[in-house]
């Protein structure tokens, strides 16, 4: 029987970040935060009002913000930068590369409104390339939590971790289903269900879709080994290899370009360690567009139905 996941509420992942940041601000005087004119969108307003001396409003100047954060680490501060995912990565890639990653600075780059679910603002703001860019940087930890509780736990975990981190979360309200007390371990996969016919690995907003897909598949008599990868880098290789050794096939699901995403990291791992038929639920190397998050996820085949379809396809390939 598939493990049941109850919906505990409906909240945006960015609020998980904002609430954890406010808590951290009260607990650790070295936590500082910087924001490039998106304080409310990033849910950093609580931290900003409670700790005005440790909050730096940089204005619409993201390059300056990232390098200021790098400079703040010299003297023992733990800076969290906040802006939309597009402006947290593509706009400031060279700054992150030289002053954060190569310089090994303890900066937490916190990025909201990632992916298609940003919605109506359209493709200019819907970054689908950020995971790829960030995972290519040596030493960068890349985390994409799936709901409010996991984002809150992830934010607290990255504050403890010493080193550069990219923390990616989103705009819309989505189901909360990860228990509040589930520990968050960077680089450690979360097994959501044990199964034997197919492995489904999902990250971010696609995790809830994968849970629903697994329920649909179970009704069809297909047993799903369901894994939530919140840390795309470093990847929990053992969890994935152990799973495909049982199931013999895998579907990866993410709100990201097929190029450079989680699926690509996993196919690279499996090609080297354990060649396995794989299908990808991801954006197929195109830009997004305006629309409601739900309509976009349907149109670009990023929902539970798409995962079911790919699971059946990959099982058929395995059995050929």
């Amino acid at each position: 029987m598939m493990k049941k996941y109850e919906i505990l509420g409906s909240k945006d992942t960015r609020s998980g970040f904002g609430d954890a940041l406010a808590e951290l601000g009260n607990e650790n005087p070295n936590i500082v935060a910087l924001c490039a004119d998106l304080t409310e969108s990033l849910k950093m307003d609580k931290f900003a009002s409670e700790h005005p001396d440790r909050f730096f409003q940089t204005g619409i100047a993201e390059a300056n913000m990232i390098c200021m954060a790098a400079g703040l680490t010299i003297g023992g501060k733990i800076p969290f930068t906040g802006t939309f995912a597009n402006f947290s990565t593509a706009r400031v890639y060279d700054q992150i590369r030289q002053s954060v990653a190569y310089s090994e600075k303890n900066v937490k780059i916190c990025a909201s409104h990632a992916g298609l679910t940003l919605g109506e603002d359209g493709a200019t703001h819907q970054t689908l390339e950020d995971i790829g860019m960030m995972k290519m940087l040596p030493g960068m930890v890349v985390i994409n939590p799936c709901d409010y509780n996991q984002t809150k736990a992830a934010t607290r975990a990255v504050a403890e971790y010493v080193g550069p981190v990219y923390l990616r979360f989103g705009r819309p309200k989505v189901p909360v289903f990860i228990p509040e007390d589930m520990p968050f371990e960077i680089g450690k996969a979360v097994k959501l269900n044990e199964g034997k016919d197919v492995t489904i690995v999902a990250t971010g907003h696609l995790v809830w879709e994968a849970v629903q897909a697994a329920e649909i598949l179970e009704e069809k008599g297909i047993s799903v080994d369901l894994i939530n990868i919140h840390t795309i880098k470093p990847l929990d290789a053992a969890a994935i290899i152990d799973s495909v050794k049982v199931t013999g096939c895998i579907v990866t699901a993410e709100e990201h370009n097929i190029v450079g995403g989680l699926g690509e990291s996993i196919s690279s791992l499996l090609a080297q360690e354990c060649p396995t038929p794989q299908e990808f639920v991801a954006v197929n190397d195109v830009f997004g567009e305006s629309g409601t998050p739900a309509r976009l996820m349907k149109k670009y085949h990023l929902d539970a139905d798409a995962i079911v379809e790919k699971a059946e396809k990959v099982i058929a390939r395995k059995n050929k």
């Binding site: 700054q95 030289q98 310089s103 090994e104």
Partner: protein, 282 residues
């Protein structure tokens, strides 16, 4: 042994720069030679720092960031001769398995360097961050930077200039190496910088001009003046006119030596113009 004068240190630094770059047939001699007096004055007369107990966090001491990282050779020489790392390590400059990378980095743990630089335009923002950390820590020490004048064509510089001015980050002293040259020609030919003094003032900075940045007395005096202006609500910039390639006659009055190594014969001529001092070659 008698104590070396500042002039001795400058001459020996120039010899280091020329020998290091010639040995690997690569590097950037022009700007490094032009900023020798500045770097020597900063590390020997102006900054409070502690080479003998290296602290990457720079607590309770002044901190310097070289934003125009291609001037690495002068920085390495000055750091080594201050005692941050052995002078003999200058032999490894730009060689494989060296801590003395072509452009400076903290990646290999080289004492004295707290941030990688090379991709231009980032150092002022970094300095603001460290200056703010100092304020939060109640540390009254200052943060110094050096930038090329070509470098300030980068947009990020002006983001940082605007921030520091608007927010009154008054524990920063930035210096612009105004040699008027960049890779493709003079700054006027490439992209004219306009009236920098007025630009910085318009952004809320105090400006200290230096007429001859290759006169160590003038540089020391100007940096002292900048120090006196700090802590009064405004960031301070030193606009320092220098001569690219200073100290080597055939490298002056041209932009051609920005990123070119001298030949062995040219090195001999250049070293003859900068005779070995009591400090001795590395």
């Amino acid at each position: 042994m008698s104590k070396p004068t500042l002039k001795d240190i400058c001459t020996q630094t120039r010899r280091d720069i020329l020998r290091m770059i010639t040995a690997v047939n690569s590097g950037h001699p022009g700007g490094a030679l032009g900023c020798t007096e500045f770097m020597v004055a900063l590390y020997h007369k102006i900054m409070e720092h502690n080479p003998n107990s290296w602290d990457p966090d720079g607590r309770d001491q002044d901190v310097f960031f070289l934003s125009n990282g291609h001037l690495s050779s002068v920085w390495y020489s000055v750091l080594a001769r201050c005692g941050y790392f052995p002078v003999s390590e200058l032999f490894t400059f730009r060689h494989i398995n060296s801590r003395l990378q072509g452009h400076p980095t903290c990646h290999q743990g080289l004492e004295g360097i707290r941030m990688a630089s090379g991709s231009l335009g980032q150092g002022l923002s970094v300095a603001i961050g460290t200056a703010l950390a100092k304020k939060l820590n109640g540390d009254k020490h200052l943060v110094y930077t050096l930038h090329g004048d070509g470098e300030i064509q980068e947009g990020q510089i002006w983001e940082a200039v605007m921030y520091a001015g608007a927010k009154g980050v008054d524990n920063i002293i930035a210096t612009i190496d105004a040699n008027g040259c960049q890779i493709d020609g003079t700054t006027d030919q490439v992209l004219a910088l306009g009236n920098l003094e007025n630009k910085f003032k318009a952004f809320g900075w105090d400006v200290v001009p230096v007429g001859d940045g290759n006169d160590i007395e003038q540089v020391t005096f100007a940096l002292g003046k900048a120090k006196a202006l700090s802590g009064k609500g405004k960031p301070v910039v030193v606009l320092m006119k220098t001569m690219m390639g200073h100290g080597v006659d055939f490298m002056m009055h041209t932009h051609k030596w920005h990123g070119k190594a001298p030949s062995q014969e040219q090195l001999e001529i250049a070293l003859a113009q900068n005779p070995e001092t009591i400090l001795g070659d590395y």
